[in-house]
């Protein structure tokens, strides 16, 4: 894991001082709420329906056990004993008091954490593959590159007042676990013709009210030049992205209006100007960072055998555990989706327990996934049973990864000032409807994603089944979409038909799923594949017929 040196720490500490000063000026009424708003937003502090919400950055979704304990402390000391992991691999707290926020930031800084650029029209937290460094199919660990991007984008003077927010994701496998084609910039680490590392660069993907899939603007940019190439993309966007309409201000609209060919031409022309300016970090800096992501000290004698004697453990093993590149090891996903729970929420006690288990079984490291679960990336197979037993006692071993109850949901109208409708209760009711594990396994992989408004924080466009909350004449209503994917086969979900009430949408989801069970070729054909094969007619008939 990356740990701060004196430079990193000094910058984050300076930020805490600056924020403390800004809050003091606000509390003394020296600045108005209007003047304060952009300042607090640059520090991740939103004014929501009931209180301030603070979003803390978890760079590329990687946390140390020490940092997880800090998040537990923050939950107890400054909030109501829990936190909410987000689809950006960050964490949010919903009950923050403004006067306490500077102390909170100072506490975070002691654990090498911050809330810098978790909001505002700037480059946001860099996201990545939760299996980075452990996946058998990656060409190299993408996180050193993500860390370099974090540093490069922090307080970037040219790109802090962009037309709109800007999200970058980095992966290193053909299997996309980070939805890179739905990001402003998606970077996939690949090997070039000569075997050298570089990035395939996607630009212009995104969700929100105008969902789009990104375009490849370059098949290969050598790793030694990806920062200046990103800088060229950002400059074209900063100069020519639309600023006349907040809903058309993301880079996807610029790429769409110019066309991918003309946009690419402009980026290449800008890069030709910028590449000679020495904007790229030297290889020595990459090497310094990479050394901190060195392979853990694996037990080379670790056994590959697992005792599957306990049937409940075997269920979890089959659903929540993935292969690891190191013999004798596995990747374990901790579900934050117990049936009836709030997707992505964890209590302070759960966070502390996970930190302890990470120390005991996973080299003290934890990952956050964009589907709002947690991962212990390097677990000895021989330890999986003990790990599972400890997780199960804390309601953290639900064996439902990628199943119908593993639902993504934004905070929705229960918390969010932008929402039109509640998301959490819909997710809870669907999970309760399908609570039977036998039924979940029969249905197989099915990703349901719920957003409480058009901004799509719940990724409904990328849901195999997507649910969007809308306001219909003052009533909460829900639209149903089918066929989306945020993976390497990215696609956008298509609206099935007229919307529903809260109870109606749960019934409609069940009808869609029963129709799928009828028309699938067999249990091996996923819902998404069935939908792609047969189209929406059988589902329309089942729901509206």
């Amino acid at each position: 894991m990356y740990s701060y040196d004196a430079y990193d720490q000094a910058i984050v500490d300076a930020r805490v001082d600056e924020f403390r000063d800004q809050v003091a000026r606000r509390l003394a009424n020296e600045i108005t709420e209007d003047q304060f708003k952009p300042l607090r937003l640059m520090n991740g502090l939103y004014l929501q329906l009931h209180a301030y919400m603070l979003r803390i950055a978890i760079p590329y979704g990687t946390l140390s056990a020490k940092q997880m304990r800090m998040l537990a402390y923050v939950a107890r000391r400054y909030d109501r004993g829990y936190g909410h992991f987000t689809t950006r691999q960050n964490i949010q707290y919903n009950w923050i008091k403004l006067a306490e926020a500077p102390d909170l930031m100072a506490d975070l800084a002691t654990a090498e954490m911050h809330a810098i650029q978790t909001s505002g029209n700037c480059i946001r937290n860099i996201s990545s593959d939760q299996f980075a460094g452990a996946a058998a199919d990656e060409v190299a660990d993408p996180r050193p590159y993500a860390e370099l991007l974090r540093q490069w984008s922090s307080f970037h003077p040219e790109f802090s007042y962009l037309p709109r927010k800007f999200k970058i994701a980095v992966i290193a496998s053909d299997t996309d676990r980070a939805a890179i084609q739905l990001h402003d910039i998606g970077l996939q680490l690949v090997r070039g013709p000569g075997g050298n590392l570089g990035f395939r660069v996607y630009v212009g993907g995104g969700m929100g009210r105008t969902p789009m899939i990104g375009h490849v603007v370059r098949d290969f940019i050598p790793v030694g030049q990806y920062l200046s190439y990103c800088e060229a993309i950002l400059r074209v966007y900063n100069r020519y992205g639309r600023r006349d309409n907040i809903y058309k201000a993301r880079i996807k609209i610029l790429v769409h209006e110019l066309g991918a060919v003309e946009f690419t031409r402009q980026v290449e022309a800008e890069w030709a100007e910028m590449e000679p300016l020495g904007l790229d970090a030297p290889a020595a800096e990459y090497d310094r960072i990479r050394a901190q992501f060195a392979e853990p000290d694996y037990d080379l004698a670790a056994s590959d055998g697992i005792d599957r004697g306990d049937p409940d453990f075997a269920l979890w093993l089959d659903q929540n555990v993935h292969p690891h590149k190191q013999p004798g090891y596995a990747i374990a996903t901790i579900s934050l989706k117990p049936v009836g729970g709030i997707p992505g929420d964890a209590t302070a006690e759960q966070m502390d327990l996970i930190a302890d288990l990470a120390d005991r079984y996973a080299f003290g490291e934890i990952r956050v996934t964009h589907s709002q679960n947690l991962v212990l990336a390097h677990v000895r197979k021989a330890d999986l049973y003990s790990l599972w037993a400890a997780l199960a006692e804390a309601d953290l071993a639900t064996p439902n990864l990628d199943l119908v109850t593993d639902i993504i949901a934004c905070p929705g109208l229960d918390y969010c000032a932008l929402a039109n409708a509640r998301s959490i209760p819909v997710a809870q009711q669907i999970a309760e409807r399908f609570a039977s594990l036998d039924r979940q396994h029969d249905i197989g992989e099915l990703k349901i994603k719920v957003s409480g408004c058009i901004n799509a924080c719940g990724h409904h466009h990328a849901g195999h089944i997507g649910i969007l909350g809308v306001d219909r004449k003052g009533e909460e209503a829900y639209q149903l979409s089918l066929g989306g994917s945020g993976a390497e086969d990215a696609s956008l979900a298509k609206i099935l038909g007229p919307g529903f009430s809260e109870a109606g949408v749960v019934d409609a989801v069940e009808k869609v799923i029963e129709a799928y069970r009828t028309v699938r070729t067999g249990p091996d054909e996923r819902f998404l594949d069935t939908y792609r094969r047969v189209g929406d007619a059988p589902f329309k008939a089942a729901v509206y017929g």
Binding site: Y7, E18, P157, N238, R239
Partner: protein
């Protein structure tokens, strides 16, 4: 207002107190340019002037053939949220422009660090800024992560100096 004028004078700004330029904060060794400023559209048609204003939609590169004859380029920030002027400044400095580069308009305390970094060396805020507060803001962050027009050494270069 008077306090701001004094601070501008301390910084070496030559403008007489009764002009609007008195509120300009200078970070230049040389005096501020005090003559008339023409918008880009007029500059390109009749180029007998040493000072030009760029509005957010203007292409800074239109000035590149004329940089040697310019003493002031003023970049307008009608709204602080409109960040196009940062790219204009970066482009002009990268092209070698060494004259006065002024950010004018909705220039607030919390933007001055970024403005200085991309190469602005004078600031003309519509609402006067307290010079001491500006200097404190500029001194707050001890290190920077990326190279920019101000020439500060990025952290990665300090690490491998």
């Amino acid at each position: 207002m008077a306090e701001v004028q004094d601070q501008a004078a301390v910084a070496g700004a030559p403008s007489p107190p009764e002009t609007a330029a008195a509120a300009v904060l200078s970070f230049r060794a040389q005096p501020l340019y005090d003559g008339p400023v023409v918008p880009l559209v007029e500059f390109t048609s009749a180029s007998n002037t040493a000072a030009v204003r760029l509005d957010p939609g203007d292409d800074a590169r239109a000035l590149l053939p004329h940089l040697a004859g310019l003493r002031l380029i003023e970049v307008a920030f009608p709204k602080y949220r409109d960040g196009r002027g940062y790219s204009a400044a970066a482009i002009l400095r990268a092209a070698g422009y060494a004259g006065e580069l002024r950010a004018a308009g909705d220039v607030l305390l919390d933007q001055v660090v970024f403005m200085r970094r991309v190469g602005f060396d004078s600031l003309a805020p519509a609402t006067p800024l307290d010079r001491a507060a500006v200097d404190a803001a500029l001194a707050r962050f001890p290190f920077v992560y990326q190279p920019a027009a101000d020439g500060r050494t990025p952290v990665w270069a300090l690490r491998h100096g």
